[in-house]
């Protein structure tokens, strides 16, 4: 008799899902590992530029989200 699995996953189905994940995401993990250490020297200029970019993108995304919700409300 099969044991009750509180997670809803049997061992075999978990194995299948690992296989699926490994098959489809291993390339992404490999790319992340390959480029994990940025080659560029983190000078103050580079740090400031990257920080500026992050702030710019966050503001832009917030504006886009605001626009999206105002459009939906209309």
């Amino acid at each position: 008799m099969e044991k009750f699995d509180p997670t809803g996953k049997s061992e075999s189905s978990e194995g299948r899902s690992d296989g699926f994940l490994a098959k489809h995401f291993s390339k992404f993990i490999e790319i992340n590992k390959k480029y994990a250490k940025p080659q560029i020297k983190m000078t103050p200029m580079v740090r400031i530029a990257l920080l500026g970019l992050r702030i710019y993108l966050i503001v832009l995304v917030l504006v886009l989200v605001y626009k999206f919700f105002t459009l939906i409300r209309i």
């Binding site: 390339k27 790319i31 992340n32 390959k34 480029y35 994990a36 250490k37 940025p38 080659q39 560029i40 020297k41 200029m45 580079v46 530029a49 990257l50 500026g52 970019l53 710019y56 993108l57 832009l60 995304v61 504006v63 886009l64 626009k67």
Partner: protein
Amino acid sequence: MNYLSRFYYQYRRVIKAIQLYLLIAGPGLIVMIADNDAGGITTYAATGAKFGYALIWFLVLLGPVAYYVQEMTVRLGAVTKHGHAEAIFAAFGPFWGWFSLIDLSLVNWLTLITEFIGMTAALSIFNIPPIITVIIVIGIMMFMVIQGRYWTWEKLAMFFCLLNLVYIPAAFMVHPSVGSILQMGIIPNFPGGLTAVLVFFLMANIGTTIAPWMIFFQQSAVVDKGMGKKDIPWGKLDTVLGAVFTVVVAIFIVIVTGTVLYGMEIESAAQASTAMMGTYPLVGTLLAIGLFDAGLLGAICISLASSWAFGEVFGWAHSLNNRIREAPWFYAYYFFAIITAGLVVLIPNAPLVLITLFVQVIAVTLLPAALVFLILLLNNEEIMGEYRNTKVQNVVSIAIVIGIISLSTLYAFSVLFPEIFV
């Protein structure tokens, strides 16, 4: 005799230089002329119709701006032998790498749709249904890459670049007043003052001059062509000539619409072409051919920019010198992008205007990042060595980048919140 031999020596030198240039020519010319894509042609046509010749001086200024940005991609590609996507991953890590790659593929795919919109509109003037246009375009784009030779692809692309020059004879056919062009167009001026409408047009013209895909495309093309450090001067010359071509074409479009359609509200280049048909049928036809060609050239370059970027990052074979069986993923992505973009245009009542506006906004999320990365990479001595930016190059390129980022952001805001700019 001495004079003759010296003349012959100089003649041979010039011929050799031209032959060498023709071998290297390609990426710079193609990217710059493809910059006048369907959206670009619409912007120039609308600018001419709205302000006549008055903003020609501004288009002249945009030539050096485009050159300064694109020239950096030549050096970066020739020195690192990496495309821009791979260079971002390697230099700044996976976060910025994935951001750039995903954003690029989204922006490029949406821009591809706008190219298809332009091409179907252009051929509908000749009563060709959109589905036939989409099939023709996909057929041409498949034929260009199926040969498995970069050289063949490049020469075919350059043929389409030549076709982009149809606006020059078109301008002569409408008999513009040269005196008026010189008087109104050469001296910098803001017709009617610095109004919101004028600022919107200035921003739109800048937006069409530098697009994110151009940076990725030219760097990857330089790498795929196999250009090295010794070819950098020729690559720069290629980019200069491309910048001159793109400005000349833009000016002649403004002259055509500024002469014939001055005072008309133009919303698309196809509309301008149709409006011309009544008075100048041949000019209208040339405008439609030019619009189709511009859309095709844009589509060719944009779809390749994405495929190259994915190929570089995922480690797929990603050269146009590879046959389809040698680089299946590279070509699969290329075909997937063009076929799906073409199909979107065929969907009845698809929100094509919304897509066109959305492209302008989304492009602004990628352009600053791509430009900032470009400058940071070009200033890194370990990567660039003696080819890094000089102080003068930095002052000019940083000023240009700040200007482009500010104005393109303003443009995106004007698209999102038009009520603020009224």
